[in-house]
Subunit: 309 residues, 2 copies
DNA sequence: AACTTTTTTTGAATTCTATTCATGTCGCAA
DNA sequence: TTGCGACATGAATAGAATTCAAAAAAAGTT
C-alpha cells in the first residue's frame, strides 16, 4: 500500500548530506546495516535503484533525486506541523470560539478580545452567534470553547472560572414612584411593566433571583433587543427593567434613569467563563480568562467586583 | 523520533471523509480497532487529542485540523512522487547525459536529440562537454548515461548498440597527386602532412586502423579544432585528412576537396551508443537509440549504412 | 601487488510495534 | 430496561524494522 515512508525521506536526506551510508546512519541514529536493508527494501518495492554506491560521495539516480525533491517538499512541512502541534499540546495556542448568554456582555468582551489578541496573536478567536439557544451542548461537543454565563450548572466535563461580580439593578424612570425607596421589594413590581431581552426567564436575574422566589408576577413583560432601546423605554416611563450595573453606568451618568437595588442586599450575580475541563488549564485559555478579568477590572473599576483567581 | 507517519495522515483524511472510525477503517483497509489504537497512540505521543468522538460526524480539534492541513499538503505530493517513480521504474522516463568521442558527431546527434524530445519530453537530456578525456569511467559511475563511440571495448557493465557504419575517407586537395589513385595505400601517406582533431591517435581511424598496422608514419601531424578549418587546410593543399564520409559530404558537393578510400575495401567503422547495462533495456533509452538510428538513416541516406537492431 | 582499512552487503536473530481478535464500555433510541 | 451502533481496550499475533555477526567489495597504503 504505502510505498514511501517518512523514514525513507529522512534517510535519503541524511545520505545526501553525508555522502555515505556510515555517516548517514549516525545521523539518523541507526546502524549502517539498518540503512542498507531499509534502502534495499525500498528500492525493491519501487523497482528502481536510488543511488550508486560505488562513488564517494554517493551519486543519486534520477529516481533518487525525485525522492529527494519530495523530501525537500515534505520534511520542512512536517517539521513545521510538529512544531505547531507541540504548541497545541503545550497549550501555547488553540482556538477560542465563544458564546455569551448574557446579552450585554459584548461591552467588555470585545475589549478583552482585543487586549488578548495582542499577546496571543495565533489563537483562533471568534464570537459565535449561532448557539445562543443551547450553548452548553455546543461547548461539550466542541462547537464552542468558552461560554460566558451567570449560571455555573454542574455539568460534567465543564469547569467554570469566575470573571467578576456585578449588581443586577432595577432601572426606573426619574419620576417613577419607586425612586422614593432605597431598595425594591418583589411585590413593588407586581403592577409594573417589565422590559427584558427576548430570552427565557430563567436566564434573567430579575425573575430567577427575585420575582419567582417571591411568587410575584409583573403586570406585563415586554421585550426589546437592544440595551439602548430598553433604557429609552424605561426613561420614558413605559416600564422598568433590570440590567447589570455596568451596563447602566453610562445612562446613569447622563441622568437618563434611576437605579435601585433588588432587595436590601441587592442581587449580585457572578459571570463565569465556562470551558471544557481539558482546556481549563491550557495556558492560552488561562491567559484569556486572566485578560478578561483584568480588562473588566480596569474598565469597570469601582462598578464591579473582581474575582481574584 | 519521528512522531507523525504517512499512515496517520491517511487515517485522518479517511476519517474526515467518512466521519467515523468504522467507515474510515474500511477505507484504509484496517480494522476499526487498529485505527483506534493507532490514533490513541499518536495522540499520546503528540500530547493532544485530534478529534472528539462523541459527535457524528467526528469533529476535529485545532490540532487535528492542523494535521489535516499537513495531510493536504503532503499526500498529493507523495502520490505524484510515487507516480513519477513508477515511470522511472518502468523505464518510461529517465536521464540521458551524453558524451561523444567522435568529434563531428554533433552533426547528426543534435537533430536526433530534437526528434527524441518531441516524443519523450520529460526525459532529462544533455550533452556533456566535461568528459571528453575519460568518458567510460564517467559512464560507469553515473556521470554520463550514454557515450557515442567507435570502439566497443568489452567493459563490464556496459552494453553497446550500433547506430550506423560509415566510411572513413581520406580527403585531399583537388590538385593532389593522390587524386590519380582510386584508393590509397598506407605508404602513400609517408610524406604527407596529416591534419587531425587534437585527440589521441588511438581514437583516430586513420592511425589505429590504417597507418599503424602498416607501420607507416606521416611526415607530420597537424591539429585543428573544427571540421571546417581542417577541410580548408586540406583544400588549400597544406595537408590531407581523414574524416567520416558524412562529415565530408557537403564539401564534396561544393567541390572543395576530393576523397579516396583507405585501402581497397575502405575503412568502415561503426558508431555505437554505449550505455550502462541496467539502462540498456529501459524503454526511454531504447527509444533514444532507435530515434538516433532513424534520424541518421534519414538524414545521411545513401551515405552511411544503417545497423538494423 | 599484497595488505590494511573502510564501506557496503547479506542472512539470521531479535526486538519492536502495528494490527487483529475478542470483549468491554458508552451513548442513544425504542 | 433492552438492543444497537460506535468506539475503546487488553492480550495475542503477525509483521517489519533493526541489530548482530560475518563476508564481500572498494579504497588506500606500503
Amino acid at each position: 500500500m504505502s510505498q514511501i515512508e517518512i523514514r525513507h525521506l529522512r534517510t535519503l536526506v541524511a545520505l545526501r548530506e553525508t555522502g555515505s551510508l556510515v555517516e548517514a546512519s549516525e545521523r539518523v541514529f541507526l546502524t549502517q546495516s539498518a540503512l542498507s536493508h531499509q534502502i534495499k527494501e525500498l528500492e525493491g518495492r519501487l523497482g528502481c535503484s536510488l543511488f550508486l554506491r560505488k562513488t564517494r560521495p554517493v551519486r543519486f539516480t534520477s529516481a533518487g533525486n525525485r525522492l529527494l525533491e519530495l523530501a525537500d517538499e515534505v520534511l520542512p512541512r512536517l517539521h513545521k506541523a510538529e512544531h505547531d502541534l507541540d504548541r497545541f499540546a503545550g497549550g501555547q495556542t488553540g482556538r477560542i470560539i465563544m458564546a455569551i448568554e448574557c446579552h450585554s456582555c459584548f461591552e467588555w468582551l470585545l475589549p478583552a478580545i482585543d487586549a488578548y489578541r495582542n499577546e496571543w496573536s495565533d489563537v483562533e478567536l471568534d464570537i459565535s452567534s449561532g448557539f445562543h439557544f443551547a450553548p452548553f451542548p455546543a461547548l461539550a461537543r466542541g462547537d464552542l470553547d468558552l461560554v460566558i454565563t451567570a449560571d455555573p450548572l454542574d455539568e460534567p466535563g465543564i469547569t467554570y472560572f469566575p470573571i467578576f461580580s456585578y449588581e443586577a439593578q432595577l432601572a426606573v424612570a426619574k419620576n417613577h414612584p419607586l425612586v422614593e425607596k432605597t431598595w425594591v421589594e418583589p411585590k413593588d413590581l407586581a403592577d409594573e411593566i417589565v422590559i427584558t431581552y427576548p430570552v427565557d426567564r430563567e436566564r434573567l436575574d430579575l425573575f430567577s433571583g427575585f420575582l419567582e422566589p417571591a411568587g410575584v408576577e409583573p403586570a406585563r413583560v415586554r421585550h426589546a433587543e437592544l440595551t439602548t432601546m430598553i433604557v429609552q423605554l424605561v426613561a420614558s416611563g413605559r416600564g422598568v427593567t433590570c440590567l447589570p450595573n455596568w451596563a447602566l453606568h453610562e445612562y446613569l451618568q447622563n441622568d437618563y434613569v434611576v437605579v435601585r437595588s433588588l432587595g436590601e442586599e441587592g442581587i449580585w450575580p457572578t459571570l463565569y467563563a465556562a470551558v471544557r475541563k481539558d482546556q481549563g488549564d491550557a495556558p492560552f485559555m488561562e491567559a484569556f480568562i486572566e485578560v478578561a478579568k483584568q480588562v473588566c477590572f480596569d474598565n469597570l473599576r469601582g462598578i464591579v467586583t473582581a474575582e481574584l483567581g
